[in-house]
Amino acid sequence: MKLGHWMMGGAAAALLGLSMATPATAEGEQYLAGLVYRTGAYAPNGIPFANGMADYYALLNARDGGINGVKIQYEECDTGYATDRGVECYERLKNNGPTGTAYVNPLSTGITFALTEKAPVDKIPVISMGYGRSESRDGSVFQWNFPLLGTYWSAADLIVQHLGQKNGGLDKLKGKKIVLVYHDSPYGKEPIPLLQKRAEMHGFEFTPMPVTHPGVEQKATWLQIRRNRPDYVLLWGWGVMNSTSIKEAAGVGYPREQMFGVWWSGAEPDVEPAGDGAKGYNAITLQHGAGRYAVHDDVKKNLYDAGKGSTNWDDVGEVLYNRGLVNAMVGTEAIRTAMAKFGNKPMTGEQTRWGLENLDITEARLKELGFEGMLRPIKISCSDHEGARSGRIQTWDGKAWSFTSDWYTADDAVLQPMVKAAAAAYAKEKNITPVACN
């Protein structure tokens, strides 16, 4: 057989494989699209998150027969953390299943920015838990965006509060030098307005330092840090950029105890490659950290003991795995809320949006779901699509993360005016008439 024939045969086989890989749609099932990344530069962080999401959906199907008896049909598409591929995945999956996807988790601020324009047209809510546009918490303008549990402005505010607390008050930050080492992308730039605002308020010197994708070239940045000796370095990285930053910090002798990462720079793949060099490094948490709770027992009993888990049991309970679990839980609870109004059947994006906006996960409900001790209650409203903005600092001791501060709550007196102004500017630019939230 000639090479050409081999290649034709291979292409045909690949096409056949692709068509067979697409799950058959079942009429009574709730379809959910998963924009994940298990390949590419950001895979080490994307994989545990994707595993957590997949396991939670599988758990609901195995343990409860789905959501209120409606089975979940979950389909992944690998975006590689690239905005163009993310939009392509979204377009490909959005209408699958009987009702289309009930919501979408882009797991990328860049993809979230792109889908923010598409979501109102397609009537599919975008859940960007702990990422996305910070002003999108204003539901009167961003009706289809849900940056649940915390925005980047909240994250930066929580870290500044912690630094203030360490120094004996926010006023004691006057004259301090704070550097932000950030991924040069929409994600990395998000905290800058808040930090500039806080620098104005408290008199600290704020210097943003960008690192270009994928973040493996940081020598120049860290040589400048070695020369300028800032009091604190805030890290807004993702993927291999995080471990590279920590290695470079160790390389130039910058104390890791004075480094504070965002919740996307505070997982095991960020610190483990740096070995002992990561000891003392800190990160703000999106409420939860690593560890196993009651829900993990259910995951073990229903999935891993039956050989149906997405990963090795040892990896279950890592920070990003847990974030995947929480993402899936919050999304499916929104569907459950919507079902209470619209009936136990597959929910459309529009119905799920109603469920998200009326989501109220109480302490009692968290206990029922097995998340007690892992999360605080979440209550979403028309005007507040964030729902909660609290976090603790966690510190890496060389082997594990542990919480090393009390809870902080972002100061809405600072955040609210910024959110309102930015959301109003967006509404004006896009000709959006804000809805009235009572």
């Binding site: 390949t39 270009t212 493996v216 120049a220 130039v252």
Partner: protein, 305 residues
């Protein structure tokens, strides 16, 4: 003066690491006239093989795992060279350079995906048994001394050895001369009895071994992960600057690009909001290109018509 010298030194040493990747491009282009877009993917594939094999064998073999993994990885790269020659290049003999170039793009995507499928997509470690602590030079002269990364220092030594070996190989050996003849003209080389398939197998094997060395150095420094494949993009300005056919050019080009981009980032970057080093490398290469289109050390091609 101290900070300037420190950035300069750091840039030069990083440049050596770029040179290690650029060397693989030069080897294949010099010997076969093919611009091998897959060199970055080969670096990743080699580093992944080395890291995973070392990781799997270390618990039972201890330090012996390193030489065993190194040998097995070298064999894997040789097998890869064999497969590329048999399945791709042999089918495309006497085709235009652009066809061969497109084929290497195909190889890139295949290797990126295949490597992650069989070895995994996490961050893996290669242990070279070097201290991670930085070295401080001239502490008496400059306050705080000049900081040097021991991995980069090691890479500089290895690059020097590689260049010496390759120079001897190309200039003094029969195979080396045959490689150069093939690069000039496939058909003419074949007509005088040089076995093209054999030559391509050798050159892709050598490039694969250079990729293994580059992958080990980058992998030990950054951790072995997909981003290593993207480091190959840093070899392009090095090649533009140093010339596609010159081994010394790859080294000098790497040094100029490494030092230039780091100095630009530190001393000019703030004017542009920072983060300029990636594109500045290309600006620097383009500036050289305007004055020497064949690169600093490239051969000037004169064709009589």
């Amino acid at each position: 003066m101290g900070p300037f010298l420190e950035v300069l030194l750091g840039g030069l040493l990083t440049g050596v690491l770029y040179s290690l990747v650029a060397l693989g491009f030069v080897l294949i282009f010099k010997a076969s006239g093919v611009f091998n877009f897959a060199q970055g993917a080969m670096v990743l594939f080699a580093a992944l093989s080395m890291a995973r094999l070392q990781e799997w064998m270390a618990p039972t073999l201890g330090w012996v795992a390193f030489p065993v993994a190194l040998t097995l990885s070298a064999l894997i790269m040789m097998a890869l060279a064999f497969a590329i020659e048999r399945l791709v290049l042999r089918q495309l003999i006497n085709q235009e350079g652009i066809i061969l170039f497109m084929a290497t793009i195909g190889i890139t995507f295949f290797l990126d995906g295949f490597g992650q499928t069989i070895w995994g997509s996490d961050i893996y470690e290669i242990d070279l048994f070097l201290s991670k602590d930085p070295i401080f030079l001239f502490e008496d002269v400059f306050p705080g001394g000049l900081l040097v990364d021991p991995y980069e220092l090691m890479a500089a030594v290895i690059a020097g050895i590689l260049v010496a070996v390759l120079a001897v190989f190309f200039q003094k050996t029969r195979v080396g001369r045959a490689l150069r003849a093939v690069a000039d003209d496939h058909q003419a080389a074949q007509s005088v009895g040089i076995p093209l398939n054999y030559i391509w197998l050798i050159v892709w094997t050598v490039a694969g071994l250079v990729a293994l060395v580059a992958g080990m150095m980058w992998g030990a420094k950054l951790g072995v992960q997909f981003s290593i494949a993207l480091v190959a993009l840093k070899a392009l300005p090095v090649l533009i600057l140093g010339g596609f056919t010159s081994v010394p050019g790859a080294i000098i080009g790497g040094l100029i690009i490494g030092a230039g981009e780091k100095l630009a980032e530190v001393y000019v970057g703030s004017m542009f909001g920072g983060g300029i080093e990636n594109w500045f490398a290309y600006v620097l290469a383009l500036a050289f290109l305007l004055f020497r289109p064949q690169g600093l050390f490239g051969e000037r091609i004169i064709e009589r018509v």
